[in-house]
Amino acid sequence: MPRYFTEDHEWIDVDGDVGTVGITDYAQSQLGDITFVELPEKGDTLKKGDAPCVVDSVKAASDVYAPVSGEVVEVNGDLDGEPELVNNDAEGDGWFFKIRLSNADELSGLMDEDKYSSFVDNL
């Protein structure tokens, strides 16, 4: 399952026409203790670059952007009671939402794992 990354530190795993979106381990480590995640609602239509999620850490609130356009088909309800899942497993159980891609071509503008890793190294 190919995984893509954005320069804003989101990741998306694509399986068929559905992508699972979250923030990267680097992002969670920069944010520190996450206390709340605001998620979109199932059925929301997002455009690439929309900010459907807000991550609250002890210090700051941060927007999370949609890496691609599409319709939200599922959100991670576990984050409601356990926002620390994002700190503990940002690129696994700490996923944010699933989106049905409306334009798979948008993926070509994203980074693969190697590119993202060198991108982070240069920050």
């Binding site: 804003d8 530190h9 203790d33 709340f36 210090k59 926002p83």
Partner: protein, 374 residues
Amino acid sequence: MTAEADNSPEDVIETQSLPLDAWHRERDARMVEFAGYHMPIQYEGIIAEHLWTREHAGLFDVSHMGQLSVSGEGAVEALEAIMPGDFAILKPGRMRYSMLLDEDGGVLDDLMVTNAGDHYALVVNGACKWDDIGFLREHLPDEITLTHHEDQALLALQGPEAAVALARIAPMIDDLKFMQAGLADWNGTPLWISRSGYTGEDGFEISVPADKAWALAEALVAMDEVKPIGLGARDSLRLEAGLPLYGHDLTTDSEPVSAGLTFAISKRRRAEGGFHGADRILKLLENGTEAKRVGLALDGRRAAREGDAIMAGDTQVGTVTSGGFAPSLGHPIAMGYVAADRAGTGTELEVDVRGKRLAATVVPMPFVPNRYFR
């Protein structure tokens, strides 16, 4: 993902390093720029560090703060002319919280003033210290000596186990109560220790020669009770303790009355006046202010942040000046100024957080009870 309200680097020419810079880095601190210095924002994580300090003892490097001394004949009168505190009755070894006021009574900084025997010791905020020094030079008479102790580091040891830990190094602390200070001798190194702090806990602030700061920090964190704590937890601890942060909850647009800091204006000073802004401040004391600094408890988990509007229905009645998740309480809290008629305990308000309305209730401060050693 982008941070909206992160600590953006201060607009400074060159960020300076403090005496314990390498010590923090050895402990994997995440360093940020604050008040013109590289400072540790966190080590293992803000929540863990916050809770550790509430249960044990946290060591904070606050060497960015300005350590000043004021001496000379007439020092008391000179200080009382620019601050509303009663320093004439302050005995040696006693300290007071006070505020530097501009001529209209606006708050230029808040600070601690200690009678240190042959001088008055002032500890001012790092972000304001250069302005404070300029202001003091301008307003103190020529015969008063102002010294900036840049060769001293400042460490704070805070928490219910701070006294047990520090007594191993400085047994004299057993004789100090809250807001008292004295000199300790640590193997020939002079430590100026006050029983004070910025967390709401029992604790101490220790002024140490910069070249001994490393050894002192090592000696303290070697104890089971003590862990190093970053600026992040310092902020969440002080917020829970209801203590204002200068530049946010206190500015030149505020004065001591609306800020709820009238305890720092003694009976004698109210009767006599004679401090910067006294005319205005004494009138406000008598007639009340339009706005008041209050504490807000928020429902849910989403935090209100500085600048968010405080609403009563469709009307903005105030503005949040500090806010965040309170680790000891498990919900968000905030401080802000609201219209006096909405400032009563229990008043139900809302905060507009980026277009979302969050329910907020006016609650007394401190949010978490103080545990000072009196």
